[in-house]
């Protein structure tokens, strides 16, 4: 084929070019990490990654929660997979999930709490909650009709909503949007992170299900 003959040399050239770029990249400008270290005492948390995520670049994280929500809306609006074949879980998976899900929830809570001072935080904890949800869905558990309507949607928008409410509240009491006052920064960040964790976990699990929950039972 004519096309495949040129592909390999072109890709090799790209690989060499990118590799050369990575190797010859100048030393980082010292400003950013040092500015961060200087401002750590107003951040409210002592883990720099969490401080960047939730405080200094809070806009990014807010918009990323929005991206998660939009992706879930996309999945739901495509209508799901009607003939999704459900197989009954094997005995091992069934018993394992009963042991694993509580542990996953516990570890998620720990990661959320420890994220203020050590590696961890909302996104890691949310991924673990999502994994627990996927495990439950694989075992055939479905959210009941009573909870699949408004309560589920409330859980899904909780993270983005908490972000927006906190930011707007600060705006109303005379601050800047998402610029936490230093004395209550830690509590605000923990609150937003807890809400974001629940939302991320619920969103990931709902995406795995692929269709509007509760719709199949009607």
């Amino acid at each position: 084929m004519e096309r495949s003959r040129w592909l390999l040399p072109l890709l090799l050239m790209l690989c060499l070019g990118l590799g050369y770029t990575v190797l010859s990249m100048p030393e980082p400008v010292e400003g950013l990490p040092e500015m961060l270290v200087d401002n750590m005492e107003v951040a409210g948390v002592s883990n720099p990654v969490t401080a960047v995520l939730l405080n200094f670049r809070g806009y990014d994280t807010l918009l990323e929660m929005g991206v998660l929500l939009v992706a879930l809306l996309g999945v739901w609006s495509l209508g799901g997979i009607p003939d999704y074949r459900e197989s009954s879980p094997g005995l091992v998976l069934d018993i394992m999930s009963r042991q694993l899900v509580p542990v996953l929830i516990l570890v998620a809570g720990y990661l959320l709490w420890v994220g203020a001072d050590a590696p961890g935080g909302a996104f890691q904890a949310g991924s673990l909650l999502g994994a627990a949800g996927v495990l439950l869905l694989l075992c055939g558990w479905r959210i009941g009709n009573r909870c699949s309507g408004l309560p589920l949607r409330f859980l899904l928008i909780l993270g983005l909503g908490m972000f927006v409410v906190a930011g707007t509240g600060l705006l109303l009491i005379g601050g800047e949007f998402l610029q936490y006052p230093s004395p209550v920064a830690r509590e605000l960040i923990l609150m937003i992170e807890a809400a974001a964790t629940l939302s991320i976990g619920a969103t990931l699990a709902a995406m795995f299900l692929g269709s509007l929950p509760g719709g199949a039972d009607k």
Binding site: L11, V22, P33, L36, L53, V75, L78
Partner: protein, 102 residues
């Protein structure tokens, strides 16, 4: 010091390998996997380059970007998989129609 660049170069080669698979394979699931491999390469480059200066602490800004990026790429993959299933339902094939070849 040098192993940081080793990781970065590994990330670059992962990116190029994923690009190769993205171009070569027509099957949509392979394309989605290829995009995931490419994004993993990008994350590896970002994390590796953030800690190449030994005197100062690793720059946490790329770390934060990678953490959010992983979750966003998972959700984008979910959306892509649903789209793939829809294409499969509409055309019966796991490939996009190629007008030039048909």
């Amino acid at each position: 010091m040098s192993y940081v660049y080793l990781y970065a170069l590994l990330g670059v080669s992962l990116f190029v390998l994923g690009l190769n698979a993205l171009i070569v394979h027509a099957h949509l699931l392979r394309k989605i996997l290829a995009v995931n491999v490419m994004s993993t390469g990008v994350f590896l480059v970002l994390v590796a380059l953030s800690s190449r200066n030994e005197e100062v602490l690793p720059d946490p800004v790329p770390h934060a970007m990678v953490i959010t990026g992983i979750v966003v790429s998972v959700s984008a993959t979910a959306l892509a998989l649903i789209l793939m299933l829809k294409v499969n339902r509409a055309t019966g094939k796991n490939e996009l129609p190629d007008r030039g070849r048909d």
